[in-house]
Each structure stands twice: as structure tokens, then as C-alpha cells.
């Protein structure tokens, strides 16, 4: 047999393409997907059909126009759609910078799939929930050590909800001191997640946005100009989306504290900092960690998730309740008290994710967590070094090392070839890789944001680098290849002109049928 030559630099990939119909098109009258439990005959003979008691006018007269589909067809349809979804398990998912895509340990997924988690009711007697409450409490202890803060709540169910909870605490704190009216401004930075500004607005705050200095650091002189007796809080990520760590962070938090404001830390992504530096020493009063980022819980297509919210002692009375306490013999759920912001999410948050992250922390220990950070930072700087060698790519701002991620730019390539970062997004699909640009506004022109985490080997990083190199080569030699991509993904270029036109957009199948019926 001849030797099979495998010397291609980029993967000869093609994603599954099933050309599935919309589920309504699978409708076949009379088929059914599952049998629903029925009332026993004796119940029926006692209470009748049950529905005759529905008051006049409140009974549904026509059944919902759902499709009727046999079970195997439903399963097959969704399995096919799953194959048209590029989970992080399947690719070198370093292209979703800021989101800390890392390996999802299978043992953790296995452990949450038990009735001992899945079939617990959140209000069941605490005597029957000691195991899960212990998990909450022990992860709280670990988070306290990682952050230096004094108490964690796992109720917020995303980074955005944690930010909302923190903005709510800022408001409740100043209200409790009679300064709620006066302090109406929250200061943030442009390279922080949009939810920082957006959630503060929900809580009634005016937003002041700091722009970076020439090296990409938040500008301390700008901070001094905007800080005042109106300052309620300062929220920032560090490092920011650029991966640039602000070494003067303690000066920032000191200035805000002197003005009477609260400092809260967006640590959605803390992957480069575990065991290296903490929120407390940097002067923060609150922080949150996304368990679905740094702490290896999966992203699940966008939730459910957890934004673990930590505070210093003085802010514990403002936490959403209940919180988990331990008296030395058993675990209990305790209400927080009158100063509490109340609740931000029903019940106790996403318990299964809390368990996943507890398991992850236990599987690493202190040294392992530090290795996570060190390796993530090493991987990032290796990637950074290599990407700067690619024609047309750059990394604006300071030239030194970055921490766990970098926001890069294709500005030069776009100017020289017309190929944009959005074109690259689509072309990367052809190599089985995901690639993300940036949140808006694009402060860095033609941006892309990469975060390699600790999960990927050098060979994995090289595969990603080679794909970007290939696209750069194509852009300079035959840009149409990139502009017309993808050609080996699930679908071809989408004609998205309808998405912003109320007359044409179709958000549901019924709406599509109405808006596309050929006129007589």
C-alpha cells in the first residue's frame, strides 16, 4: 500500500450539512412523539374530564398549531442540528476571546446527571439538600481564597446578571447612607464588556466611559477629571479585552474610594490571574467570576450559567438572598436582612453549574489553579508572538507582553486587500475553527480577539495560527476566496438584508409563512 501523504498545513475540513427542513415541515397528522401520562380511571370517574371546570371563555378552543411528529424523526432532526453546531469540544476554540473557552471535563458533566441534582426542588427541606448546600458553601470558601473577598452568592446566573446585582448593591449601599440621590454616576472603560455600562443604566446611573491612553491603559488623568461626589461606583475589568493589565489599578481604586465610590471588578474572565493576584489586594469591594468561563462550566449555547458574586464584609448585608451558611454541623439557607437588594434571580441560581465548578476547583487544587493561569498566559504570549508575524495583522497599543488574551487588528490587511475581519470570520468556518471580532463599537479597527486558555496544546495553537496565515495569504493573492466564504460550512453566505426591515424580518415560522406567501 502506498504511504498516504498528510502534509497540508490547514485542515481539509467540511462541516456536517444536513439541509434539514424547519421542524414544522416534518408535520404528519396522526404521528406523535411521546405519550403523556393520563389520569387513572378512578380519578376520571371522580372528577370527570377536569377541563369542563375551566371558566367560560378561558378554555382553549383550537389546539396550538404545533407539528405532529414521530419520536425518531424528532430525535434525528435535533441530532442533525447538533451536528451543525460547532461546540467547543470539537474545535480549537481560541477564537472566542474574552469568553475563556476551555476544556469541559467529562467527569463533571457525568456527575451532574444524577437525580441527586437534576430532580431536587429548590424549596425542598434543607435536611434533604445537605449535599448541594455543602457544594455551594465549599465553592464559596474557594472563591473567597481566590479573590480575597469575604462572601459569595451564586444566585446571579450570568456575568450580566452579576453586574446588575453589583450595580444594585452600589445603589442600595449609597441609599443606606443617604447619598443615593447625589451619587448618580458610574465610571467604566471602553474595553470592558458592554454589560457593565448597560446594567448600570438599568439601575439609573449615568455612565462615564474612560478611553485608553496611547499605550492602551485606562487613563488615570481622565479618571481624576471625572471623579467627584457624584461618583457612585467604578467598574472595570483588568486585564481588559486587550489583555493589557493596568498596573496602577490600586491607584484607581484608591481614588474612587477617596471620593466615596464603590469599586467593582469584572472578573468574568480571571483565567490569567488565578493564584497570581486578587481582587482584594487591588482594592476592589466586589467582584464576580463567570463559572462558565474561568471555572470550566460549559457555555450551553448561551446559558444557563453562573456569575459568582463576591463582596467584602461591609457589603454582605446587601447581597441577594438567601445565602448558604454552615454552623459546624449542617448547612442552611439564611435570609440576608433589610439592607439586601432582595433577589436577582429565582431560587438559588444554577446549582448544576456550581457543582461543575466546585469539581473543577477540586480537581486542580492551589498549584493546579496557578498552573492554569501560568499556562494560559504562556499560550497567549506564544500566540501573540506568532500572529504578529502574519502579514496584515497587528496588535495595537503597548508592545510588551499581554496576559490571557489580545485584541488584534487586520486594519492593514483590510486597507491593502479589502478583506475585512467579518470575511475572516466566515473563512475560518471552512477550517473548522471559530473566530470572533469584538464587541461594538470597534475601537480597534478590523478587530479580532483571541484567548487560548490553558486547554490547548502548542500543536493546537499552531493549527489556528496556520489557518490565519492561510487566510492572510489568500487575502493578498486571491481575496475572492475569503470574501465568498464559507464554502465548506453548513450553509453559504446569508442574505441578511431582511434582518433590519420590519416588513421583512421573520422571527418565527408563522411569521415567515405570512410574510412570504406569494400574492395572488
Amino acid at each position: 500500500m502506498k504511504r498516504i501523504v498528510r502534509d497540508h498545513k490547514v485542515r481539509n475540513f467540511h462541516q456536517a450539512k444536513w439541509d434539514e427542513p424547519i421542524i414544522f415541515e416534518l408535520h404528519k397528522p396522526g404521528e406523535r412523539g411521546v405519550e403523556v401520562p393520563q389520569a387513572e380511571a378512578e380519578i376520571e370517574s371522580t372528577v370527570g374530564d377536569g377541563i369542563s371546570r375551566i371558566p367560560d371563555g378561558m378554555k382553549r378552543t383550537t389546539p396550538p398549531a404545533l407539528p405532529e411528529i414521530g419520536q425518531a424523526k424528532v430525535l434525528r432532526h435535533y441530532l442533525r442540528l447538533s451536528q451543525e453546531t460547532m461546540g467547543s469540544d470539537f474545535n480549537v476554540e481560541i477564537g472566542q476571546g474574552t469568553c475563556t473557552m476551555k476544556y469541559i471535563p467529562r467527569v463533571n458533566e457525568m456527575m451532574i446527571r444524577t437525580p441527586k441534582i437534576m430532580d431536587l426542588h429548590p424549596l425542598q427541606d434543607v435536611s434533604n439538600a445537605q449535599g448541594i448546600l455543602e457544594v455551594f458553601y465549599k465553592l464559596d470558601l474557594a472563591m473567597r481564597e481566590i479573590s480575597g473577598l469575604d462572601k459569595f452568592s451564586f444566585q446571579p446566573s450570568s456575568g450580566t446578571q452579576a453586574l446588575l446585582a453589583m450595580a444594585s448593591i452600589v445603589r442600595a449601599y449609597h441609599d443606606s447612607r443617604g447619598e443615593g440621590e447625589q451619587r448618580n454616576e458610574i465610571i467604566t472603560t471602553i474595553f470592558s464588556h458592554p454589560s457593565q455600562a448597560a446594567t448600570a443604566v438599568v439601575k439609573g446611573y449615568k455612565i462615564i466611559t474612560l478611553y485608553p491612553d496611547a499605550d492602551g491603559f485606562p487613563d488615570i488623568e481622565e479618571l481624576k477629571k471625572v471623579i467627584s461626589s457624584r461618583t457612585a461606583g467604578f467598574v472595570v475589568a483588568n486585564p481588559e479585552d486587550t489583555g493589557i493589565y493596568n498596573p496602577r489599578i490600586k491607584e484607581f481604586t484608591d481614588l474612587v474610594h477617596e471620593a466615596g465610590g464603590i469599586c467593582y471588578y469584572d472578573q468574568a474572565n480571571a483565567n490569567g490571574l488565578l493564584g497570581v493576584t486578587r481582587a482584594k489586594e487591588a482594592g476592589f469591594d466586589m467582584c464576580f467570576f463567570n463559572l462558565h468561563k474561568t471555572f470550566a462550566a460549559p457555555h450551553m449555547c448561551g446559558g444557563p450559567a453562573t456569575g459568582a458574586l463576591g463582596v467584602v464584609d461591609t457589603l454582605i448585608p446587601f447581597l441577594p438572598g438567601p445565602i448558604v451558611e454552615y454552623d459546624g454541623t449542617s448547612y442552611d439557607l439564611k435570609e440576608v436582612g433589610d439592607l439586601s437588594i432582595g433577589k436577582v434571580r429565582s431560587f438559588h441560581g444554577v446549582a448544576q453549574t456550581v457543582l461543575r465548578s466546585y469539581a473543577w476547583v477540586r480537581s486542580l487544587g492551589a498549584e493546579g489553579l496557578r498552573q492554569v493561569a501560568h499556562t494560559a498566559v504562556l499560550n497567549n504570549n506564544y500566540l501573540y508572538h506568532k500572529i504578529l508575524e502574519i502579514r496584515g495583522a497587528s496588535a495595537p497599543y503597548v508592545k510588551g507582553n499581554r496576559l490571557e488574551q489580545v485584541r488584534y487588528s487586520w486594519e492593514q490587511m483590510t486597507q491593502e486587500t479589502g478583506v475585512t475581519t467579518e470575511d475572516v470570520t466566515r473563512r475560518m468556518c471552512d477550517f473548522g475553527l471559530h473566530y470572533w471580532t469584538s464587541h461594538h463599537p470597534y475601537v480597534v479597527p478590523q478587530p479580532f480577539t483571541l484567548e487560548p486558555t490553558e486547554s490547548y496544546s502548542k500543536e493546537d495553537l499552531d493549527e489556528y495560527i496556520n489557518a490565519l496565515q492561510q487566510i492572510s495569504d489568500e487575502a493578498y493573492s486571491n481575496p475572492e476566496i475569503v470574501k465568498n466564504a464559507p464554502t465548506r460550512s453548513t450553509v453559504h453566505r446569508i442574505e441578511d438584508s431582511s434582518f433590519d426591515d420590519p416588513e421583512k424580518w421573520c422571527i418565527t415560522w408563522r411569521s415567515y409563512l405570512k410574510k412570504t406567501t406569494p400574492s395572488e
Binding site: I54, P115, N381
Partner: protein, 472 residues
């Protein structure tokens, strides 16, 4: 015996191999990994190892966690009558199969190309829920019903330019806390009374409270206390006459038998998807949805992502993408509508699978079974001396059991039930002190007739036990 971890490469961190690290450091031109942290001032660097329990291998971890979880007793090991916003239902196996798929579990923010399946599944979920509620627009789900209601109210405020909302006094107190926190400080609320014993909204009180600043009248069907609100159209008419929007919260498992609120005047519908195929997960199964008509003034006020269908450059191919993305905080930070981010997409996909499996008649049968079984349970309990069903309107799935006539507290009775392996319903005595010693019991399609009879017998016994204790 404690097993010591050998100095080695952690299975989750391939680049811990010293030779590889050396090679990469040389490539960067840096001596040690620590040097990459030079920018962090020593004053705020940790100078010690964190204080943590020792690392566990996969085998040790599983053994430890399994042992720990044994301390939990699942709802299958008791007979559970708790609902109150999180309900025990039959979960078709296909729901779990799909939402445990590695592709869906580990996907996140992919493009409509490599993640076409995620976009299509969520578009289909939107479309299926749209049929259930008879509306043309449904969002990619938010955190839970409380968040969906909170956002619905803020949407109503933006649409009407008004800042007060009316909420039913039957509302779940936890949900009220969430709404109150979310709408403060721009919006305020008032509670509208309900009639005891009918459970219906007090229309006179509503009329007295609705005013020129009312953005929305919000009510629920069924109410938190389980009763079916039969005055839906009248409430909507009162809201509309005052220039307010009508926002209705629903339990979607009722919509095979109950009229969807869009058919009695609702402008915005919200609710929780958890009953549609999600395990309770100690509260981690919640997911909120919002539905409206397909009118620009509504669509442009959603903060959520809305996935739409579109053609591609190839004839016959379905494509998907974000509709009106410019609304969102992703696009415009603080000037977007509220905020968007990670919410509960996987539960949206699962709810779609559930609705596709049950179909129109499955949803009808589900609603009917729930009504029959819960009515049967209520009749059994009402037959016990001193026990009554407090609210008289027809209920769906949950009902208020009144223990005032027994001379015992809910707490005392439930402690006895627990000893019999029964988890009683939610104790309402703190949240609704005006009801005295009442509890909210939930009965769904999962409860067998024998279990309902076991409950009735146990409650009867619980009363007797207490009397004996007192007579000693």
C-alpha cells in the same frame, strides 16, 4: 488514605510539559513564565500558594462527589408537592438526549455558519412557543419568569413613556423582589388586591389604581396561588382604556387547555419554560420567555436576541441570523435596550424539543391530566376534618390548602409529612400572612393516584399526631 499527586502534567493542561514550555518561552524570548507577569506590581501579587484542599484525580473526585451527593434526597425519593415556580413534570428522554449533546453543551457564540444548528434550533423554539401563545414574536430565552416579567414591564414603560406598573397581590414574593429590584429606580409599582375566597383580581381595586402614568397592568394566569383568572379580557380592557399595556404571565404547561392570553387582550406574554422539558435542577432549570405581536414598536424594545430566518446565496438553503441587532447592548452598550448576555439558550432548545414531541394533542392531554389529578388531590384533602381548599375558582396544577381549621401550623404538619417521606407544598404563612396557615400544593401528571391518597392519609395522621402530643 490521602493519595498524593505525582508531579506531572495535569490532564486538563497539555502545555505543562516542561520541554514544550521551554520551547514556547524561547520563541517569545522570555526566560520564565513569571516574567510574563512583570507588569503586575509586587505589592498586589500573591506571595504564597492559595490555601485549598489538595487536588483530586478524576477517580478520587468522582468518589468524593458521589458520596457528597448521597446527602441529597431527590424528588423521586419522596413524594413531592412543591411547585411555586419550579415544577416536577414528566421529562421525555429525547429532551435529555438533545440537551446533553456535546455540541450543544459546549457551543457558545458561534456564527450562523458553524453554529447554524444552534440558530435553527432556537428559531424553531421561538416558532413553537409562538404557536403555544398565539403570538408572532418570541425571544431567545432570558433567565427566568421573573426576569421575563421585569423586562416585559420595562418594555411597556418604554413603549408607553409611563413609569408605573400594577402587579397582582397574588404574585410570588420572590418574583416581586426580583421585579422590584430590576425596575427600580425608574419605575414604581402598586399591588392590586385579589378577592378572597375567589382568587380573582379585584377589578374595583384595579380601576381605582390604574391612572395616566400606568405603563402596564400585569397579571398571571394561572395566578401564583393556582387559580384561573377568568376576567382576562376585562382586565385587558381596563388597561387599554387607560392607555396602558396588558402584560400576562403564564405557565406554558397550561396552554394546551387554557386560552392563550393573546386571545383575551395581552400585548406582552411572559412565563417560564421550565415545565417544558427541564429538570428542576434545584432551581437551575428556569428559563424565561417573552412574546409579542410582530410590530416594530414591540420588537425594537426587546433587549434579548431574536433569531430570524433568511435566504442564502444558494437557492433552497435556509439561513439564520440576528434580527434588529442594533437594539442590543452588544451593539450599543449603555444606549442599547437594557442588557443582553448569556442567559438560558440550552433550555430554549430543550423547550422546542419538548413541544415538538408533545405536539398539539400532547399539550392538550398534559393540561387535562394535570387538571384531573390536581382536582382529585384537592377533593381528597378537602375531605379531611379542618382542612379546606382556600380559593374557590377553578385552579390549574396548584391550589391553596388551608390548615387554619386544624389548629396546627403548616410547619408542624409538614414536619410530620417529611417523616413520612412526603415533601409538602410551599408554606404561605410568611409570604401571605393574611391567609394564616395555608400552603400551596402542586400536583402534576407525575403524581400517581396512590401517592395522592398517601398524602391525604398522611395529612390526616399529622393532625392526629399533634393532638396526641398536645394532650400529653
Amino acid at each position: 488514605m490521602e493519595t498524593r499527586r505525582k508531579a506531572s502534567v495535569h490532564p486538563y493542561i497539555p502545555n505543562m510539559i516542561p520541554e514544550v514550555q521551554r520551547q514556547m518561552l524561547d520563541e517569545i524570548g522570555v526566560e520564565r513564565i513569571e516574567d510574563l507577569y512583570d507588569i503586575i506590581p509586587d505589592a498586589i501579587k500573591m506571595d504564597r500558594l492559595m490555601d485549598m484542599p489538595p487536588a483530586l484525580s478524576e477517580f478520587e473526585l468522582k468518589r468524593e462527589i458521589d458520596k457528597l451527593l448521597q446527602k441529597n434526597k431527590s424528588a423521586n425519593e419522596t413524594i413531592n408537592f412543591l411547585g411555586a415556580g419550579c415544577w416536577q413534570h414528566f421529562i421525555p428522554a429525547v429532551c435529555d438526549e438533545i440537551n446533553q449533546r456535546s455540541e450543544f453543551v459546549t457551543a457558545y457564540a458561534g456564527e450562523p455558519y458553524e453554529d447554524k444548528g444552534r440558530f435553527q434550533s432556537l428559531f424553531e423554539y421561538q416558532s413553537l412557543v409562538a404557536e403555544l401563545v398565539d403570538m408572532d414574536v418570541v425571544n431567545v430565552p432570558t433567565f427566568d419568569w421573573a426576569q421575563a416579567a421585569s423586562t416585559s414591564l420595562r418594555m411597556a414603560s418604554r413603549i408607553t413613556g409611563r413609569t408605573e406598573v400594577l402587579l397582582p397581590a397574588t404574585i410570588d414574593r420572590d418574583k416581586l423582589m426580583i421585579i422590584a429590584n430590576y425596575i427600580t429606580p425608574q419605575l414604581s409599582y402598586q399591588l392590586v388586591d385579589f378577592n378572597d375566597p375567589s382568587g380573582e383580581l379585584d377589578l374595583e381595586d384595579l380601576k381605582s389604581k390604574v391612572n395616566a402614568n400606568t405603563a402596564a397592568v400585569y397579571f398571571e394566569n394561572p395566578t401564583f396561588l393556582g387559580t384561573i383568572e377568568s376576567q382576562g379580557q376585562q382586565i385587558a380592557d381596563i388597561a387599554h382604556a387607560a392607555g396602558a399595556l396588558c402584560v400576562v404571565g403564564v405557565d406554558p404547561s397550561s396552554l394546551g387547555v387554557l386560552k392563550p392570553p393573546s386571545q383575551y387582550g395581552a400585548d406582552i406574554i411572559c412565563g417560564d419554560l421550565q415545565p417544558l422539558g427541564m429538570h428542576m435542577n434545584y432551581g437551575g432549570g428556569q428559563a424565561g420567555f417573552i412574546a409579542t405581536r410582530d410590530e416594530e414598536k414591540f420588537v425594537m424594545e426587546y433587549p434579548s436576541r431574536l433569531f430570524g430566518i433568511a435566504p442564502t446565496i444558494v437557492e433552497g438553503e435556509y439561513g439564520f441570523g440576528d434580527v434588529a441587532y442594533d437594539r442590543t447592548s452588544f451593539a450599543h452598550r449603555e444606549t442599547g435596550k437594557e442588557s443582553v448576555g448569556t442567559q438560558t439558550a440550552l433550555w430554549g432548545i430543550t423547550a422546542g424539543v419538548y413541544l415538538a414531541l408533545l405536539g398539539p394533542y400532547g399539550m392538550q392531554e398534559l393540561g387535562q391530566t394535570i387538571m384531573q389529578k390536581s382536582q382529585y388531590a384537592a377533593e381528597l384533602l378537602a375531605a379531611i376534618d379542618g382542612v379546606e381548599i382556600r380559593l374557590q375558582s377553578t385552579f390549574f396544577k396548584e391550589f391553596v390548602v388551608d390548615f387554619n381549621g386544624t389548629g396546627k401550623t403548616v410547619r408542624e404538619i409538614h414536619r410530620q409529612l417529611l417523616a413520612d417521606g412526603i415533601q409538602g407544598g410551599k408554606d404561605l404563612s410568611e409570604d401571605f400572612p393574611e391567609l394564616g396557615q395555608c400552603a400551596l400544593y402542586c400536583v402534576t401528571e407525575v403524581h400517581a393516584k396512590e401517592e395522592l391518597e398517601t398524602l391525604a392519609a398522611a395529612i390526616q395522621r399529622a393532625c392526629v399526631v399533634k393532638e396526641e402530643v398536645e394532650s400529653v
